[in-house]
Amino acid sequence: MSTVVLIGASHRSAPLEVRERLALGDREVLEGLPDVIGRDGIEEAMLLSTCNRVEYVVLASDPAAAGDALRGELRGRADLPASRFDPCVYELRGAKAVRHVLAVASGLESMVLGEPQIFGQLKHAAVLARRAGTLGAGLDAVLRSAVRAAKRVRTETEIGRHPVSMAFAAVQLARRVFGSLKVRHALLVGAGKMGGLVAAHLRSAGVGEIAVVSRRYETAATAASRFGGVARRWDDLGDALGWADIVVCGTAAPEIVLDFETMRDAVRVRRGRPLLIVDLAVPRDVDAAVQQLEPVYLYDVDDLDGIVDQGRERRRGEIRKADVMLDAELDAYHRRLAGRGVTPTLVAMRDRVERVAETELARARERLGPLSSSQEDQVGRLVRAVCRKLLHEPTVHLKRSAGRRPSEVERLCSEYRAIFGLEGGDPSSGRRDVRARDAAEDATCEDVDGGRGPDSP
């Protein structure tokens, strides 16, 4: 029986200089994956390659050989001595490997706990494997479980909800004040890196328009072009403050840029519309007294840091809940896997019984002569009902036993196949077997009773 094997390195096990040697682009993945199949019992393969992890997920009939082969392949790619390389790589098999895939998909293994990008990256890896022709039913079942687990963790826990970066915290604040950001305007004061990051997050969150104002217009224009914004002149700052709903300050100025009087004038022009100011600068760009203005909400780096710390704590608090969900999904995966093992036997049993029923119905029609349509219908129903009732207990028993050890399930299926006479032959020969067996039974009865069957008077 094939086993899921996972081997790779992540930010937890390997430093960046090792991970970057292992990382592959899409083209290399597409070219490399087919070479992995067939070697050392590897039947299916997928490669997840991101900035924080490189992991092979394979289905192999010989897990030990497959693990060795892939470890060798990774070592070759890293081109590092074993003493440096080996501690960076981990290998998981069976249920542990599947559980790890579920945890990765749910963001529990990510550098930023609960981050959603990894889900898309895993799906992308599956697309590449499918395109390379190396993804089969086995790994597909694992990935489906991963998708289910990730969706459950995302919707039923708060693991992805709380901000874990200042930029995310700024966007969350904006949503707290305005709700949808679709018709809102953001103003970047200064063209610093952090401000740009917040602007990018706001753009992703759907903010309406972004303007950048800087002492040098060219700097503002360059920054604005990065996220589809517009540049405004420094002299327009007063107007811009009246226009914007969200102001992100991040200049390198040593003194206050937005003083109390400037903001008071801006608030007057705004006619009571709320204003969120995120001051990312150190030293601060915005006078702390601005916080007293109504309705202005001023957050500096310390405030954002506090929100981020809270967010991290709350995400960590959700880990246990997420773990329970992953365990439940892993159980469901195993049940589905085992269920697939009994399905062919169940189908064969039903098929056999239906063929016997058809045969006996045909024989009964020959003896009874033509029946009216109502009689035909009744007889048909009777036969089908008998078949259903006879099959019910064996079906339930087999399905319930699907969760047992694979060897037990195989033995049970084998016994049922023997009981129902399902061993060997194709369906057509199965019918001849039925008639041959029936003929033998009839002959035996006549011989015993001198030509009369057991039910004859």
Partner: protein, 263 residues
């Protein structure tokens, strides 16, 4: 019919309120949706009860304070459902439906059967129109006050940078503000017409426009507060915490009207 409807309405109310609380605390979309459905059933059922009450008594169910409570409860629930549909302010489900339920229970519980046959007022009367409009206006002010309350809570949390956890469950600040404004814009004209009719009725019955009764003074004060808030808001952009506090004050003044209504 009432015997059948009352338990249905009560169960629908309780179910809707519980689901609203669960939906807000757990941020469950399914619970919120189910809550809206349950409260919609409660609203429809309660309307049927009020219509039945009117048919049995041969008049609009506004003549007595308990009928007024029951009608006000229904109107508050209706106003909540409207603002929920417009602004998705689910957290208000923790506040408004329980108030609507409490008002309705007070009303229906205390409804004296003997008065159902009273012919104290004619079936349709200017007084009924006055009371009906005032009730609808007050229901809208209930919503405005609830939204203002939510606004104040959000504003405090954002200003003090504390209570981050529960703030997330409240509607965004701006949305609460807009929902409150819209409720006021609906309620104010209804309330104004009700006030004018009330003054005219008083003049007709007592020969004077105004009298020193609670049921006249408080609504006038409430009207004045709302008029001031709306004018300042629409003409001068008066918003924020102070506007919210004044809205709540106006609503409380209007609520005191119920003290003076005939029992």
């Amino acid at each position: 019919m009432a015997q059948l409807l009352i338990p249905v309405v009560v169960v629908a109310y309780v179910t809707g309120i519980v689901l609203a609380v669960v939906g807000t605390l757990k941020r469950s979309g399914a619970a919120r949706g189910a809550s809206a459905v349950a409260l919609g059933i409660a609203c429809s059922g309660q309307l049927a009860l009020l219509v039945g009450l009117g048919i049995r008594s041969g008049r609009l169910p506004f003549s007595y304070s308990f009928e007024l409570f029951a009608t006000l409860g229904w109107a508050v629930l209706l106003a909540y459902l409207v603002v929920l549909a417009r602004f998705r302010v689910h957290a208000a489900g923790v506040v408004l439906p329980p108030i609507a339920f409490a008002l309705s229970v007070i009303g229906f519980w205390n409804l004296p059967e003997a008065r159902l046959d009273s012919t104290w007022v004619r079936p349709v009367d200017v007084l009924h129109v006055h009371i009906g409009l005032a009730t609808l206006g007050m229901a809208a002010f209930f919503v405005a006050a609830a939204m203002s309350f939510i606004y104040v809570l959000q504003d405090r949390a954002l200003k003090t940078k504390r209570g981050w956890a529960w703030v997330e469950r409240l509607p965004p600040l701006d949305r609460a503000d807009r929902a409150g404004l819209e409720a006021m814009l609906w309620g104010f004209p209804l309330f104004t017409v009700a006030i004018v009719l009330g003054l005219a009725l008083n003049a007709s019955a007592r020969g004077a426009w105004l009298s020193a009764e609670a049921k006249q003074l408080f609504p006038l004060l409430a009207w004045a507060v709302f008029a001031g808030v709306l004018a300042a808001r629409l003409l001068r952009g008066f918003r924020g915490r102070r506007a919210a506090y004044l809205t709540i004050a106006g609503f409380l003044l209007g609520l005191l009207t119920l003290i003076g209504v005939r029992a």
